[in-house]
Amino acid sequence: MIEVKSLEKIFGDKQALHDVSFQVKKGETFGFLGPSGSGKTTTIKILTGQMRQSSGTANVFGVPVSKLNTSEYRKRFGVVTDNSGLYARLTIYDNLKLYADLYGTSLQRIDEALESVNLDSEKKTQVAKLSKGMTQRVLLARALLHKPELLFLDEPTSALDPANSKHIHNGLKELNRQGTTIFLTTHDMEEADHLCSQVAFLNKGVVQLLDEPKQLKKQYREEIIGIELKDGRELELPLKASSAEEIQQYISREMVERIYTKEPTLGDIFVEVTGRELV
């Protein structure tokens, strides 16, 4: 679906992307993770033909992005970025109706799309009266109206409360099950962990790591067993045979509150790999 090789983007004297390479296969939910200013939006803009790269190749649907500006290709993807806008004087429904007509999808899809972002009861509301999170949800509904083969989402849940994020995560999972490949950027590691089949860590314009979340967590798992005792003490023991006796003693004396293995979060791994917090 997407093949990016040695992508570079230079703004004047500032290099936003240094060397970005990755592939997204059909059916994946690909998470592009990175702190603010790392080049996530720049990458999405290049992939959707809103910006030219300075060098390197970027192919989407097997063709260079510079050739994507035809109606046929545009019908095949959807996009939400931070510079997407809605018509403030129109209702949610009228905003979506325009796009349903432009994409040639049935009007029935409007209701379905609104349902998937939890806004089906608001469709007669004027967009000017919506909160930031609601606006973001309408934009999302607009992007998935035509059930695109490929969906680009730039921080889709950054303005949303946990309940709505969860609702949208479920909607995206369902869409993915129905065949849509999703490319999403986020700095929410839990979101990435929950949704993505592949994640890439972007730091200062370079892809520093690319793998499945599960593999990453396995690879970066600390070989440690944590024990919380009833008297409040917390112990960390190496995950080795030599610890077995000590642990057994705590258990047989009924001193243990709980035992756990230390699973790193994607956020921990990011810090370890890049030396940077994800803010």
Partner: protein, 235 residues
């Protein structure tokens, strides 16, 4: 390039609904009518004065309204959405011009009616007005594309209004200020030329010239619009 009537109509309908709720823009459409009422009270109007109000209607509604509509789409980041949709350049420009064309035609017709100016027997003038309409709309589209917001557009549009909307009035001062001679070439003056020539019974052997000048304006503004539009598709 294919042209989808469905997508054109979708944009047209959207703009119609949107404009209906936009008081700032729709109220400027009434301005030419005020001029028409004032001038018609003066009494017998010379042909030049009729043409002044007609040109002003075309400029104030055609150019200004179009410019404001496009500038707003840019300001609110909605134009990019259209550009990323399957709609093509021609569908977007045509769709976005359709509402302006309808309103300009209505306003111009109403001001003619107020001034008691009849188009019957003035076939050449009708053709000239329609050709100029394309110019005024394309000019507005281009100006909307080069400005960043409605406010900025309202500022830049002022000198344009003076040059293209009121040339017929300022040309009277050309004897004192010779630089105003260039206004001779504005579509408004050329429209007056067409009206005068056809009134005097001239044929196409004389009339082709004002038509060619207006046609040149049309070509220039359409090319500028297309080039700028393509640029605006990218950051």
């Amino acid at each position: 390039m294919t042209f989808s009537v469905k997508r054109f109509m979708a944009i047209f309908q959207k703009d119609l609904k949107d404009l209906y709720r936009n008081l700032y823009i729709s109220s400027t459409a009434l301005m030419p009518l005020i001029f028409a009422v004032i001038y018609s009270r003066i009494g017998e109007m010379p042909l030049a004065m009729h043409l002044f109000v007609i040109t002003l209607s075309l400029a104030l509604v055609g150019t200004f309204l179009q410019c404001a509509i496009i500038a707003e789409e840019k300001e609110k980041n909605t134009l990019r959405g259209l550009m990323l949709s399957p709609a093509t350049l021609t569908e977007i420009i045509a769709g976005k011009s359709a509402v302006t064309i309808v309103i300009t035609v209505i306003v111009t017709a109403v001001s003619m009616f107020i001034m008691d100016f009849s188009l019957s027997g003035r076939g050449w003038l009708i053709a000239g007005i329609l050709l100029s309409l394309i110019f005024f709309i394309a000019l507005g589209t281009w100006m909307g594309l080069i400005t960043r917001s409605v406010v900025e557009a309202s500022v830049y549009i002022l000198p344009v209004m003076f040059i293209f909307g009121m040339a017929n009035m300022f040309i009277g001062l050309a004897d004192q200020f010779s630089f105003l001679q260039v206004l001779e070439y504005t579509p408004g003056i050329q429209l007056e030329e067409i009206a005068n020539l056809s009134e005097a019974g001239a044929g196409f052997d004389e009339l082709w010239k004002p038509f060619a000048i207006i046609g040149a304006w049309v070509v220039v503004t359409l090319v500028l619009t297309a080039v700028t539009f393509k640029k605006r598709m990218m950051d």
